[in-house]
Symmetry: C2
Subunit: 350 residues, 2 copies
């Protein structure tokens, strides 16, 4: 894997932001999570956060051999079809990206089918889908570093095109909620029945099958280090996204995490460089079962809770305006003194 060094969060910038926030014309603490977010963003940027004029969404795509086990409601051909929808700009993420004024890139880390050439398709494919993790290791050992490097490369591609001040991560890959669930079980020690959900919407029988596959595959990795775990459980887009996360953190670019599958990517990044998670913002709490477990392990509290379970970075896109709001709050509001507003007779934090 390419060398990546994650800078320390800037604690003094966070403190300066907090001091300024507490003097702004509002009761202390009254903007709750937005204040915390502004503090975190100041720590990430090492000063006042920018207004995020340049926003990128990176949707990592890959396929999963485990679909042979009947763990998904959709066939694998949907992965390249949906990539086509993202590039054609008529999927959910495109609608939400317009709201967030963000540019959508798709990174091909391991799609099985053919993809067209497209200026916003980052071609970083490591393999044509993983092997079936229910029966064998999802990928050869050498592909672990290759997929992480593909992610680091994809971030470099995005940097070269739009120099993003913030990046939101999402995913597309039929079968990837099985891979993500197995990774979450392996990294957090949680039981499969607490982590495995219906993904895009399987029925009861397929859900039981999926739980069994996840439990057995995760058990196979017991005692193994993170390289063993990700080689066994995959997938290419999850590792690719972990690479994007690490690369963004290394450049002090905040990373907005989408839901369940992206949280598995963040758990991989946490294994490689725990300090990278300090650069992450959890956009939302997904309806998918194990997401809360993964977020707890990451030490992240999500901003939104809108009962989403789509992926594609849809939830991450919806959180981008909150990052802008946090930045504008600390940059654009005046203090009581500047505004000539009387302060509280006895200000306390409720």
């Amino acid at each position: 894997m390419l060398p990546i060094s994650i800078p320390s969060l800037d604690a003094s910038a966070a403190l300066a932001a907090r001091e300024r926030i507490d003097q702004l014309t509002k009761p202390v603490g009254s903007l709750g999570r937005i204040e915390e977010l502004a503090e975190r963003l100041a720590a990430v940027h090492g000063g006042l956060p920018p207004l995020y004029e340049r926003r990128a969404i990176v949707v990592g795509a890959g396929d999963h051999g485990v679909t042979a086990e009947g763990v998904s409601a959709y066939p694998s051909e949907v992965t390249p079809q949906m990539v086509g929808a993202f590039l054609g700009e008529f999927a959910a993420i495109n609608a939400f990206a317009r709201v967030a004024r963000a540019e959508v890139f798709v990174a091909n880390f391991g799609v099985a089918g053919e993809l067209p050439r497209h200026p916003r398709l980052l071609e970083r494919s490591v393999a044509r889908g993983t092997r079936n993790l229910a029966r064998e290791a999802a990928m050869p050992d050498a592909h672990v570093d290759a997929a992480l490097d593909a992610g680091i490369g994809a971030f470099a591609d995005v940097e070269a095109r739009v120099s993003p001040e913030i990046v939101a991560l999402g995913e597309m890959g039929i079968g990837n909620s099985t891979s993500a669930a197995a990774l979450i079980c392996a990294f957090t020690g949680a039981d499969a029945e607490d982590v495995v959900g219906r993904g895009t919407g399987v029925d009861d029988e397929a859900l039981r099958r999926k739980q069994q596959v996840v439990a057995q595959a995760a058990a196979r990795t017991a005692g193994g280090d993170w390289r063993r775990i990700v080689a066994e459980l995959g997938g290419y887009e999850i590792l690719g996204l972990a690479g994007v996360l690490l690369a963004a953190a290394s450049k002090r670019v905040p990373v907005v995490l989408d839901g369940f599958i992206v949280s598995a990517a963040a758990l991989v990044a946490q294994q490689i460089a725990p300090e990278s998670i300090g650069y992450c913002i959890a956009a939302h709490r997904s309806r998918e079962l194990g997401h809360a477990i993964a977020l707890r392990h990451l030490g992240l509290v999500p901003l939104l809770d809108l009962d989403l379970r789509l992926g594609e970075a849809s939830g991450a896109a919806l959180a981008l305006p909150l990052c802008e709001a946090a930045s504008r709050m600390v940059r654009e509001m005046k203090t009581f003194a500047q505004a000539g507003v009387s302060t509280a007779s006895a200000p306390i934090e409720a």
Copy 2:
């Protein structure tokens, strides 16, 4: 009060939106609250919702005689000072309005101090603040209709200037969390200790005083109709905002409600025309104690939960991008058939 007639929500437009949403390229139900929001907005507009190019925020302002009881951490002079901050565009709501691409208007319904003339200050003052609701009726009976009409007039002012496709309501008024708490107790039957919070941040002693004031004032209105209740408990900005809500609903303009105090205004509107609440969207759950009680009584479930307790429409502004997202989802996404994407083998709603 001016005659107001609230049209029925368009159930067939909501159904058509739901049918379209269920065919879009995503698992059924996977965009959760955003899907519900799109359905609601279709019912409001009587068809596909617009993209909300024209957005208005109306901050109702008024003062409260009850501040004489020591129920607020800030002096009344802060009301006109903060109105000055809103008009000068350096308060929290201005920062958030830039994120939401909305225009901020301030409606003076009853500020005690002097306010400057300003193109975005809607001058609709009924009186220079309420009387002390702890000791007497907050306003003379005749001011109830006058304040509601002031709100209806304020909406007409906003309509004449920007023809808003959506309106977010907020408030400013030192002491108004006492008036709002008393109204919420009177309309919902809840106990003062379950409704009264620290507002902008009073200490324990002032909190006890505030609870006592609210309990006694609300008790005084027992058995009275809504006119008696609002005359006793005030306030001018709360009634004015109820008038804005009713006027917007009468024109099929969706109304995004901010927090605790605006929920009291919505309870007043609910008394006058219950069907007006169908045009409302609850932006967020405030940290202020009784907000959840008021929302339950309104039958509204908030979109955001960001631990906010500022007012000014700050939470409502943050919900505006979600309304745009809901609209873009239903307008801009393609269906499985249009996009040529394979459907689920056995699609179910998880």
